[in-house]
């Protein structure tokens, strides 16, 4: 009997212990962002002293912690606490092992792509490249140069870093070529294009889906930015000849009126070096119709004309991107509708507009349907749907 009581008591104590521990963790959850990732001192020199000669093993543990943390927080590392925590972690890591090249590379990548702080990434990578013992590595300076060029548009700095990288052993010849490409707009486009095509191929080969998505997004952005130059020029010509009227969203008038042909010819006459860029934009076909499609030549581009105050803003997006935006908006609206029905029991939602009259949603504007239609609430299915799509 006594044994049974003791066993039950022990069981109860264990349950209490587990419950107490969970409740403490839950209570601290909101305050744990940085210390959970860190577990290191704010001063890397102190961490180094505390490592007691096990510097690289501690660095390895931080490395594993860093990449796991990145995996779960990629999209929220712009948050100040998380960003500060991540920077501190990598400062500690690289102080413990200044020759840990993968850590310098990864840190630079995260600062640029997830923390959205390209200047910090350039400084970090340059510092890594200039550490004692890292003189044989060209990649860190190349990455710093590439971020200077692509994200910061500091072409002189990029050229300087590329040239320094090119002098290091094992550096491929294209790095020196890229340094000189920084002097010309066409060269910069080609350099960026080539690099992200390479990134995408490497990511696909390694099965790294995060990097592949990033590389594809960048390629889409580079493509649209370049195509926009020609479509903008053609639109200006078209409007001059058509009483200031804009072409329709699919822009077929630009082709039919010859405005696109005229704009491209003028452009290539003034900048003959852009011919190679134009080749890339048309997928090597030199066919003007390709300029009205996305990078892969599959989804047609749409001209979006909107009003920002007194200014008219013209932008170009592919139908595929707009369709993605439509799906995102549907998901958000569906969540809001479910929240509405949860907070207003017994009052089923009649129309989407009702949501935006709620106190918690008054500051949120009703989203516009990206494909020219309208969102509505299907009272039968209790789902957000789209009707009257124009494109």
């Amino acid at each position: 009997m006594l044994r049974l009581i003791a066993t039950v008591l022990l069981g109860l104590l264990i349950v209490c212990y587990v419950f107490l521990q969970d409740s403490i963790i839950e209570r601290r959850q909101n305050y744990r962002t940085s210390d959970k990732i860190l577990l290191v001192a704010d001063r890397p020199a102190v961490t180094k002293a505390l490592a007691l000669g096990f510097d690289n093993m501690v660095a390895d543990m931080m490395w594993i912690r860093g990449i796991q943390y990145f995996g779960g927080n990629f999209s929220s590392l712009q948050d100040n606490d998380k960003k500060r925590g991540f920077i501190n972690l990598f400062e500690n890591l690289t102080t413990l092992d200044p020759n840990f090249i993968a850590a310098w590379e990864f840190g630079g990548f995260v600062y640029n792509e997830a923390c959205k702080d390209p200047q910090l990434a350039v400084d970090f990578l340059s510092r890594g490249g200039h550490q004692k013992g890292n003189e044989g590595n060209w990649k860190l300076l190349f990455d710093a140069g590439f971020i200077s060029f692509f994200s910061l548009e500091q072409y002189d700095k990029a050229k300087e870093l590329f040239l320094e990288a090119a002098k290091r052993p094992g550096c491929p010849p294209y790095v020196e070529r890229m340094a000189f490409e920084m002097d010309y707009a066409s060269g910069r486009f080609i350099a960026a294009w080539r690099q992200y095509v390479q990134y995408a191929a490497d990511a696909e080969k390694n099965g790294d889906t995060v990097s592949l998505d990033i590389a594809n997004d960048k390629l889409d952005t580079i493509y649209i930015n370049e195509v926009t130059i020609h479509l903008d020029n053609a639109t200006t010509l078209y409007r001059v000849k058509n009483d200031n009227k804009y072409p329709s969203p699919d822009m077929h008038e630009l082709l039919e009126s010859g405005a696109l042909m005229e704009a491209v010819s003028d452009f290539l006459e003034k900048s003959p070096d852009q011919k190679s860029v134009f080749e890339i934009l048309t997928g090597g076909t030199m066919d003007l119709r390709r300029l009205l499609f996305d990078r892969k030549g599959q989804s047609p581009l749409r001209m979006l004309v909107s009003q920002d105050g007194t200014e008219t803003v013209v932008s170009f997006k592919s139908r595929a991107v707009l369709a993605e935006e439509q799906q995102d908006a549907i998901r958000n609206l569906q969540q809001m509708a479910e929240h509405y029905e949860g907070t207003e029991p017994g009052r089923p939602l009649e129309k989407l507009e009702d949501i935006f009259e709620q106190e918690w949603a008054t500051n949120i504007p009703m989203p516009k349907e990206p494909l020219g239609g309208e969102f509505y609430w299907d009272t039968q299915d209790r789902q957000v749907k789209v009707r009257n799509m124009q494109w």
Binding site: L52, G53, W63, F100, A102
Partner: protein, 259 residues
């Protein structure tokens, strides 16, 4: 000489009887479990992770063995009064200290060799990891660090209790790895004008063992930079320091009342 060898062998046998080699099984478990987990998470850095983990585990387990067995070496003989038998055979107190020291050193060497073998097997099973000369040299140099630690433990155990000896030895190990910071601190004090304190710290620095001189496990991942560390000077320094410590131990123990 024969007496020292006999006592050393006996100390080694005693260690086996005390099941100190069980530490190898714990080491194997720790190494294999952590390698299995961490190398999966290391994103292409499996080689360095498995090596650093293995070397660190060898360091920690070797240190624990040297420290906890070392601090009991003299005390146990005194406690069980077996020292009377030894001294009665004509063995000198210096021979006793040396025999105990070498016995434990052999025990640690055998332990480290077995752990190294397990580490090599783990590396063999880890994708992308290779056994390099730098790894072997790091372990070789570590044996000299552990030799100094044993000498320190034996010194403390010759005049103090096991608990106090263990604490003091552990503190020496910590200070030994921070010795260079002490020198930096002394240089800073000198610049700030505290000459007397700077001088004192400078002397303390030379008095303490600089264990970082035997620590090259941080360079193991970088094969090309290891050659700088390959020198006869570090082992020579360890031997010199150990001889000094054993001499002091012998002098201290000679005056100790063992009744």
């Amino acid at each position: 000489m024969r007496e020292i060898a006999a006592l050393a062998l006996n100390t080694f046998r005693e260690a086996i009887r005390n099941k100190v080699f069980y530490i190898i099984f714990i080491f194997a478990l720790v190494l294999m479990a952590s390698s299995l987990v961490f190398t999966q998470l290391a994103l292409g850095e499996q080689d360095r992770v498995v090596k650093h983990l293995g070397l660190s585990a060898i360091n920690i387990f070797g240190l624990l063995l040297a420290m906890f067995v070392g601090v009991n070496l003299v005390h146990e003989e005194l406690d069980k009064r077996t020292i009377y038998l030894l001294l009665a055979t004509g063995m000198s107190r210096t021979q006793f200290i040396l025999g105990k020291f070498f016995g434990l050193f052999i025990t640690v060497i055998v332990n480290v060799l077995l752990m190294t073998l397990l580490l090599f097997i783990t590396i063999g099973f880890t994708q992308g990891a290779t056994i390099t000369p730098s790894l072997v040299y790091a372990i070789f140099l570590y044996l000299f660090e552990v030799m100094v630690i044993i000498a320190i433990a034996v010194l403390f155990s010759s005049f103090s209790t096991p608990v106090l000896s263990a604490v003091l030895t552990f503190m020496c190990w910590i200070i030994g790895h921070l010795a260079e910071d002490l020198l930096t601190f002394s240089e800073r004090l000198e610049k700030e004008g505290s000459l007397a304190l700077a001088k004192l710290l400078h002397w303390i620095y030379y008095f303490l063992p600089n264990l970082e001189l035997f620590n090259i496990k941080n360079q193991v991942a970088y094969q090309e930079s290891i050659m700088v560390f390959v020198t006869w000077k570090a082992p020579a320094m360890a031997i010199l320091y150990t001889v000094i410590l054993l001499t002091i131990t012998s002098l201290t123990f000679a005056k100790r009342d063992v009744r």
